[in-house]
Structures are given as structure tokens and as C-alpha cells.
């Protein structure tokens, strides 16, 4: 039983070693000269007057949160889609209800104009 998990192990090991080796060699080879001027924020070549951390407009936050919500919704679809056969009719109705609620929310957001950029 355990043997069938061997490919996963190999895959895991490879997935870890490749980036680690790459970063290690990089750190060894590349020059490392962090000067304050180099670390100052880049503003098209002009000395930045104000700090880069400024208060951003709220609408960017709203758009981001909406994206997260609908992204998570699609994640829930994956397990449902995988064993769709076993769940049969019950699963279908269940998912339709789940999707219906979220699509209603989507229309509400759309009509409220939260998706309007700018």
C-alpha cells in the first residue's frame, strides 16, 4: 500500500531540492552590495519625497475581497467535480443551491457598482 505513495515522495523531494539548490548557488555566486541608494524606492528616477506606504483608495480593497470570495467558490467546485458520479442527483442540487446563492451575491455586487473600476 505504501509503495503506491513512492512517486509522491520522489516528486516532493525533487520539488524541494530544485529551488533550494538554485537559490544556494545564486547566493554563492552573485555579488551582494545593498547600498542605501539602491534600496530607496524606485520612482522613475526621481528622489521619492513621501513614503511609498500611502493610504490607498478603498475600492481597490473591495475589488480584492470580491476576487477572493469567488476564487474560493471555484475551489469548492473541484472536489464536487471529482466525484460527481457518486454524488448523482443529490450532489447536483446541492451544488446548484450553493452556486445560486453566490451568483445572487454576484448580481447584487454588480448592480451596486462595486465592480466599477476607477
Amino acid at each position: 500500500m505504501l509503495a503506491s505513495y513512492l512517486p509522491v515522495l520522489v516528486f516532493l523531494v525533487a520539488a524541494i531540492t530544485v529551488p533550494v539548490v538554485g537559490l544556494l548557488v545564486g547566493r554563492l555566486v552573485r555579488p551582494n552590495k545593498p547600498t542605501p541608494a539602491k534600496l530607496s524606492p524606485y520612482e522613475c528616477g526621481i528622489e521619492p519625497e513621501t513614503d511609498a506606504r500611502d493610504r490607498m483608495s478603498i475600492r481597490f480593497y473591495i475589488i480584492a475581497i470580491l476576487f477572493v470570495i469567488f476564487d474560493v467558490e471555484t475551489i469548492f467546485l473541484f472536489p464536487w467535480a471529482v466525484n460527481y458520479g457518486k454524488l448523482a442527483l443529490f450532489g447536483l442540487i446541492e451544488m446548484l443551491i450553493f452556486l445560486g446563492i453566490l451568483i445572487a451575491g454576484y448580481f447584487y455586487v454588480w448592480k451596486k457598482g462595486a465592480l466599477e473600476w476607477a
Binding site: L28, R30, P31, N32, A37, K38, S40, Y42, G45
Partner: protein
């Protein structure tokens, strides 16, 4: 840095690593989009399909200094712009190289006036000077090739100022 730097000397291991690292660096020289005047138009012509700089790995023009290792000063450097060039050059990650394209950026060119810096090497260290006003696209390609030859001689050791205690 885990490994003790002073242990390194010029030996077989570092020369092969050098050749690999230099080969990697010189074949992916990402220039920064930094056109000033007429030479910038010739630089764009070099970026286009007839004189294609991509053959030398230098075709991808990066907008920001953070992702570019080569800055091609293409055009007249005025005093007001020299201040900006200083900031940009500082903000480029090491290892970085500078190509001074055209007579204007190399020595001020035809503009010997109150507002022009007579040569960009007064402000930043320059690796390759390309004559011409504007230099022909082939001249810029030749300049890139000369820079690649210069990169070939570099070694990872001299960057880290390894001192071999005699």
C-alpha cells in the same frame, strides 16, 4: 554566507564556475528602456526585426532598473537628466554594466552648451563607449559584443574582493 569566503582561490573549480556564470550573464543582458534622444530611435531600430538585438540575448527591454543589468545611455545627457541617471544607476542590482551610446553621452557630442553634461562618465562608470551620431545599429550591436567579451573576463572572485592571505 555559510561558506568562508577567504577559502576561495583561483582554481579549477572556480574557473569552470566562472565560465558558466559569465556565459549565463553575457547571453541574457537585459537592457533598461532608457532612450534620451536620437540614439534612442536607433536603439529601437536595433530592437526591431532587421537588426534584431535578441540574437545576442539583449533584446528584452525592461522598464524598471530593478530587473535590468545593462543601461544603454542613448542620447544627450543634460545636467538635469544626469541627476536622474545617478539615481537610476544606483537602483540597478549588481552586476550592472553601462553602454554609452553615441557621441553625446560619451563626450557631449555637438552640444557643448550650458545645459549639457560633457560625457556621462562624469556621473556613472561606463563600460563601453560607442562613437557615432547616432551610431549605426550595427555599431550598437558591436558595442554589445564588446561588452560580452568584457564580461567573459570577469570572475566571481573579484566581486567578493577575496583576499588571499599570502
Amino acid at each position: 554566507m555559510g561558506i568562508d569566503e577567504r577559502a576561495f582561490q583561483q582554481n579549477v573549480v572556480t574557473t569552470t564556475v566562472d565560465s558558466v556564470v559569465n556565459w549565463a550573464r553575457k547571453s541574457s543582458l537585459w537592457p533598461m528602456t532608457f532612450g534620451l534622444a536620437c540614439c534612442a530611435i536607433e536603439m529601437m531600430a536595433v530592437g526591431a526585426s532587421r537588426f534584431d538585438m535578441d540574437r545576442f540575448g539583449a533584446g528584452i527591454f525592461r522598464p524598471s532598473p530593478r530587473q535590468s543589468d545593462l543601461i544603454i545611455i542613448a542620447g544627450t545627457v543634460t545636467l538635469k537628466m544626469a541627476e536622474v541617471i545617478q539615481v537610476l544607476y544606483e537602483q540597478m542590482p549588481d552586476p550592472k554594466w553601462v553602454i554609452s551610446m553615441g557621441a553625446c553621452s560619451s563626450v557631449g557630442g555637438p552640444f557643448d552648451t550650458y545645459a549639457t553634461l560633457q560625457g556621462v562618465d562624469k556621473v556613472i562608470p561606463v563600460d563601453v563607449y560607442i562613437p557615432g551620431c547616432p551610431p549605426r545599429p550595427e555599431a550598437l550591436l558591436y558595442g554589445v559584443m564588446r561588452l560580452q567579451d568584457k564580461i567573459d573576463q570577469m570572475s566571481i572572485l573579484d566581486d567578493k574582493r577575496l583576499v588571499v592571505s599570502s
